[in-house]
Subunit: 341 residues, 2 copies
DNA sequence: GACTGTTTTCGAAACGTTTCCAAACATAGT
DNA sequence: ACTATGTTTGGAAACGTTTCGAAAACAGTC
């Protein structure tokens, strides 16, 4: 019993089965209007009979586009990224693109691999959050990127479209709010200053104190990683040693870590400690009561990025990159109280 | 000033620049050992000089595999899916595959599109959660799927590898536990019985009552959707009308909805109501205190699926499909109390 | 029925690789 | 110097489409 070699049926098989040329089959598929109805049915029945499906590898090879776009992200476990991706997907799908997502785990080499993978024709465009803003290899790759791309909340010295969040203003407002409630020992835990959100948040934090001519509690600033573990570690340290009266957990994973500490120490919010978070996550909305937070419209970020990409996808000419900055807003929850007199 | 037509440099350009044949260039790239060191450097400098990068479209067209695998999921906003994907990615990357994710939003047509997209050579294999277990079109597509695939927690009458969770036993244990605490009016909110998890959970729930010869509170079973909104709606209804003494929120999105109700009605857990959740999410672990839950090892599910896929990817012969079922375990938190006498 | 103009079809080239076969070359053994 | 053996290389075919120019078929008009 010989093993069937399962060579899938090609357009040529269809052509000979239908008694037409391959060109005609191709046109029946891609421009049915250009073929006589009678031949169309011949071709269609042949296709049906043979169960023919065009090989998209070959199609991609010929037509120079794939109608897919890539979404590159460092950690899809972060619900923000998931939401952004969904918003991007909704817009792109409407325009006939299939979006797919690549998770890099933050490693520079994985980011490089992801970019390379998309680089050559695997996608028509990319939307991405790159963690290694400073990594030379990554920068070089981005520079040579020959497909349209949009950067999310990252700031690199290259001519690439970007959608940014105005973290500085947001953080400045939140900090001011706490200062207004009488807090001075305010701690800030956020991501590393090597990427934009960290930098900007620190800037806003500092600014809020400066505006009122108060001394900036630089000893209470912890900015290294956006992970839950980091949040846990730093919150533990801070509470043990520095006794802040308020903590700003700037990063939704960080919030998880901070809440873990709060729970362990059985602290009451806002009785023992005022707390401000970033972004509406399930946790921020539900933890005993809603937490006061610096919110932003994640869907809008995604949609904006998608539109930026579509624009670039549409026109081949190299117009200069756009960077669009979107605002945040402070949503008051129940997690902040005046500092006891 | 004429617009440079930007035809990217091909292997042929490199060949003539280096004064060798295209075949040699190709081999320099793919099997450097088979080419004389002297020619190798000629080729390499030419590649460097021209900034040549092989067109992966063409490569994919020739070699018949892409070294990528697809991960298809209905809602990447669900942290479980994200975790699974990360576990899958870790394993697959180790073996040289690039995994990417496609989000279908649950729509049958999107699922179909995703499968089609992968179907022809866009990926060497797929791991997926299909929502339309009963959708004829989807089933047919799966049946004709010509690439190795693994199903997650779904049960369809086709010969496809699958990794399942033993929801029935898990639910039976949880329900028994509540019964043991004296609860009788136990509500179950979970996904539709049209997909496996819903079916199995109901089965386990019912089983627990039957075992003790108790009447099954069928009026308290709500099984239609895994969404947060559904959880919210049904929990509201149940609490208003049926006054259960315990609720099992089986589905992490459902839990979000249920907690919203609990918060709104200022219910105390477990004082006013006992609560059991599924899967360790941030919320389940942190909401005021840890919630008692039916847990499972998500990473292991991902890893298992990845290994199953690798196995199939490795051997071309059609061995019968495997289905591997993984257990759950009950983790006691602080959200259940004996029913007041 | 010849002429024109339009629609439809054919056949071949092209896309950029990889891979196969045979030719060229080098190395060593006699 | 010649053959036998092994290593490198060149050239062309192949992968399965799309597309393009030219040929063929058709329809309408005089």
């Amino acid at each position: 019993m010989k093993k069937a070699t399962r060579r899938s049926t090609t357009i040529r098989d269809v052509a000979s089965a239908a008694g037409v040329s391959v060109g005609t089959v191709s046109r029946s598929l891609n421009a049915p209007d250009s073929v006589r109805p009678a031949t169309l049915v011949k071709v269609r029945t042949a296709i049906e009979a043979l169960g023919f499906q065009p090989d998209s590898r070959a199609q991609i090879m010929r037509r120079r586009h794939t109608m897919t776009i890539g979404f590159v992200v460092d950690d899809i476990g972060n619900p923000l990224h998931a939401t952004t991706f969904k918003a991007v997907s909704a817009v792109m799908r409407e325009r006939g693109f299939s979006p797919y997502l690549v998770n890099t785990e933050g490693g520079a080499e994985n980011e490089a691999a992801a970019i390379d993978m998309l680089q050559h024709g695997r996608a028509d465009g990319v939307i991405m959050t790159i963690n290694s803003e400073k990594d030379a290899g990554t920068l070089k790759r981005l520079e040579q990127l020959r497909i349209p791309s949009v950067l999310l909340d990252r700031d690199i010295p290259l001519d690439i479209d970007a959608v940014l969040t105005d973290h500085a203003v947001g953080m400045q407002q939140a900090t001011s709010y706490l200062i207004g409630l009488g807090h001075r020992r305010i701690a800030l835990i956020t991501g590393g200053s090597d990427i934009r959100p960290g930098r900007e948040r620190i800037r806003g934090f500092v600014e809020a104190f400066r505006q009122r001519d108060l001394e900036v509690p630089t000893d209470l600033i912890r900015a290294q990683s956006l992970s839950a573990d980091y949040g846990f570690r730093e919150a533990s340290n801070l509470l043990q040693r520095e006794k802040p009266t308020a903590i700003i957990a700037a990063g939704n994973r960080i919030l998880v870590g901070v809440l873990r500490v709060i729970q362990q120490n059985k602290l009451s919010i806002p009785g023992d400690l005022s707390l401000i978070a970033c972004d509406q996550t399930d946790l921020a909305l539900l933890y005993p009561g809603p937490i006061t937070l610096i919110d932003r419209n994640i869907e809008e970020i995604g949609r904006t990025a998608a539109h930026l990409l579509l624009e670039r996808l549409g026109s081949a000419d190299d117009k200069p990159a756009q960077r669009i900055s979107l605002p945040t807003r402070l949503i008051l929850g129940g997690s902040c109280a005046p500092v006891p007199a």
